[in-house]
């Protein structure tokens, strides 16, 4: 059965070699996959050699496209061309792409482009890959020249390159892929490097910036600066290879470049993906909603795994903001599956974000077909994400048009895996995008106006647009609350620890009131950031626990907490609110918290200080935080 052995696991060069030896028809899919995954030069070239041998051996291949690519540049284009052919071939989704390649002479790209009779144009390329010479990208003046002068030189260098691109495009009609400049890897000229635009380091960066920001739509940038930064600038240039064979790129880095060019070439021929279909359990949250329930799943809060899943959801939400349509495809009862989207406070994704929600016990391949139908989109516009290899396998088998992302064992890597899959890269800016950009700009202008009205604390706090929700303890919050209780050291007036069971017992303990606080601002949701437990005995309310996340310090949240403590104390018929500060090695930060909040000292011993507040004389502290909900909204706390 074709495809059966191939899709099961990731294949490396060794298994491709076995398939070659056996003249197996799975050779080509395996070669494609191994090429896409190849990390270094030797492996990629070995796969290229296998490709040539397979063609000679007559292992049947479907060539589903031929790309006419011309490569021109300021360095030797050999053996880069071999890597390009291999990577472009593997860009095909089902067969193999054939590259007809024209290769310019070493450092002859300017005349090849400027001469209308050149071989370059005779070749009639549909795409031209241009690798300009780094030697020509040098600031000629002094490092101490005026910044304007240096900047003008960078602008001129970028304009020269774009002029070459325009000429090449106008004469051939080809799309132009241009490599920008690698970062200069040498310590030259020391720390002054960043204080001038004239150093190689800053000059190249300036030229790259101008090039990218001013490139017309037919110019596609192979971002060598980014790729080299990602790999490490020192690993991307090989002096020996330059002197011996005029290679611009170190051998392994040439693989990165070739892969990027292949990705750009592919994007010129294939529409981008539009739909992200998501599994739920252990993909969007940790655990199984049907077994663990709302309070048992891991999402957000203060535990590391929950934070990782939340980060993944944020990455998904950012794609949705750029126009990617979200779908859910999960083996679950609908009711269970939808509940976190509707009710879990830490979920980033809400039900309204999901265009098509399929949670049932049908095979996922069937559900994905239905999603495509309902959204009226082709199967090949869908990417499916799952942590379960068996589900990925089924989808690969039964709907091979759908690309899949098999999430690895660690949710910390999920967001990177999604972004590095590169399925949802925007390749051109549409009118809609531009309009959206304008709206963002207006928004930014408003924010700036707000900020510039003053640089004082008050206007800063006001500009944050803070919203808070205060809630009595709920079963769903219990794990996060107990984690905070057992973890917080600095902003913690008593540092009393409690087990999860003890926290749970507080839900029904009528001798106390307890609440947690969430805070969101214009930069995002900070989640559950404060926990308060107050014991009530007749007319006295005593703060048993008050802790807060340090990341919201100086936001007036402590003032709102006191406002709420007093409000609830009054509802409970208390006239006095007592606070204890029990010093520890770590909580010096809150030594003065109670006096700052208007409490007066009533007792001072080495073990503790005790503070008191007359709740009837208390005027709520004004703050810049909008309280969207308060604790115990329906049941009065004395019930």
């Amino acid at each position: 059965m074709p495809g059966e052995t191939v899709t099961a696991t990731r294949l490396g060069a060794d298994s491709v070699r076995d398939l070659l030896a056996g003249r197996d028809t799975n050779f080509w899919p395996a070669l494609r996959e191994a090429t896409r995954a190849a990390q270094d030069f030797s492996e990629t070239l070995s796969l290229a050699t296998m490709r040539k041998k397979a063609l000679r051996a007559g292992i049947p291949v479907t060539i589903d496209k031929t790309i006419r690519l011309a490569v021109a540049g300021g360095s030797s284009l050999y053996p880069l061309n071999e890597l390009l052919e291999q990577m472009i071939g593997a860009a095909s989704s089902t067969g193999w792409w054939h590259t007809e390649l024209w290769k310019g002479d070493y450092d002859n790209y300017i005349s090849e482009i400027l001469d209308p009779e050149s071989e370059l144009y005779a070749f009639k390329p549909e795409a031209i890959f241009l690798i300009p010479s780094s030697q020509r990208c040098v600031y000629q003046g002094a490092l101490t020249d005026s910044r304007e002068q240096q900047h003008a030189a960078a602008v001129a260098a970028a304009e020269d390159l774009l002029a070459l691109c325009r000429t090449a495009h106008e004469r051939s009609g080809a799309e132009i892929v241009i490599a920008n400049f690698m970062p200069a890897p040498d310590f030259d000229p020391g720390p002054y490097r960043v204080r001038t635009l004239g150093s190689d380091w800053n000059f190249r960066r300036s030229v790259n910036l101008e090039l990218g920001l001013n490139a017309p739509s037919y110019v596609h940038i192979c971002d060598a600066e980014f790729l080299a930064t990602r790999r490490g600038a020192m690993n991307c240039y090989d002096a020996r290879a330059w002197f011996e064979t005029k290679q611009l790129y170190a051998s392994d880095f040439a693989v990165d470049i070739a892969r990027e060019v292949a990705s750009i070439v592919r994007s010129l021929h294939k529409p981008s993906k539009k739909v992200l279909a998501l599994d739920l359990d252990n993909t969007l949250w940790g655990g199984v909603i049907g077994d663990d329930g709302m309070a048992g799943i891991e999402i957000g809060g203060t535990h590391a795994r929950g934070e990782a899943f939340r980060q993944f959801q944020l990455a998904i939400a950012s794609l949705a903001k750029r126009g990617v349509v979200l779908a859910v495809c999960s083996k679950n009862d609908y009711k269970n599956a939808a509940e976190p989207f509707e009710k879990h406070p830490e979920m980033v994704l809400k039900l309204s974000d999901i265009a098509c929600f399929k949670a049932n016990w049908e095979p996922k391949s069937e559900n994905l077909r239905r999603i495509a139908e309902e959204l009226n989109l082709g199967l090949d516009s869908i990417v499916f994400v799952d942590d379960n290899p068996a589900e990925i396998e089924i989808v690969n088998q039964f709907v091979p048009e759908i690309e899949t992302i098999h999430l690895g064992p660690d949710p910390a890597e999920y967001a990177s895996q999604l972004l590095n899959s590169r399925f949802f890269e925007p390749r051109s800016i549409t009118a809609d995008d531009l309009q959206r950009g304008e709206q963002y700009q207006q928004q930014a202008a408003r924010a700036q106006a707000m900020g510039s009205s003053g640089t004082d604390m008050e206007s800063y706090l006001d500009s944050l647009d803070m919203h808070s929700t205060i809630s009595e303890f709920t079963p769903v919050d219990v794990p996060r609350i107990s984690q905070l209780i057992n973890k917080s050291n600095q902003f913690n007036v008593t540092t009393r620890r409690r087990t999860e069971a003890e926290v749970e017992a507080l839900l029904t303990d009528r001798s106390r009131y307890a609440f947690s606080v969430r805070l969101a601002d214009k930069f995002g949701d900070n989640g559950l950031i404060s926990v308060v437990i107050v014991a009530v005995e007749e007319e006295t309310a005593t703060v048993d626990t008050w802790l807060m996340s340090c990341r919201v310090l100086k936001r007036q949240m402590e003032d709102e907490v006191v406002n709420e403590m007093v409000r609830l104390a009054k509802l409970r018929g208390c006239s006095s609110l007592i606070g204890h500060y029990l010093p520890t090695e770590k909580n010096g930060m809150v030594r003065d918290l109670f006096p700052r909040m208007g409490f007066t000292l009533v007792e001072d011993t080495p073990e503790r200080t005790t503070w008191q507040l007359d709740v009837n004389a208390f005027t709520p502290h004004p703050t810049h935080i909008q309280i969207d909900r308060r604790a115990y909204p329906t049941n009065s706390p004395e019930n």
Binding site: S42, L45, S46, T49, M50, Y78, P79, F243
Partner: protein, 84 residues
């Protein structure tokens, strides 16, 4: 490492690069093998550097006439590495 040992280890690199039966001998040079083009030459040098944990200097490999001389070069680089 003797020249014989080095040549034996080089054989594994050659097998990986050529994916074909190319027998490593001291007298062998690029002219003797049809497929041995500059592309495979680069692969071979990188493969040898990796296999032996050495790094050649600019122009050195080019100056060797056959695999025997190449093996001697590897030997010198290994010895040098061992002294450090």
């Amino acid at each position: 490492m003797t020249q014989t040992e080095i040549l034996a280890k080089m054989q594994t690199v050659f097998d990986d690069v050529f994916l074909d039966d190319v027998k490593v001998t001291p007298e062998l040079s690029a002219n003797d093998v049809e497929e041995w083009d500059s592309l495979l030459q680069i692969s071979l040098v990188l493969g040898v550097e990796k296999a032996f944990g050495v790094r050649f200097r600019v122009g050195e490999v080019e100056a060797t006439k056959n695999l025997g001389e190449f093996a001697n070069l590897i030997q010198r680089r290994i010895a040098e590495g061992a002294k450090v």
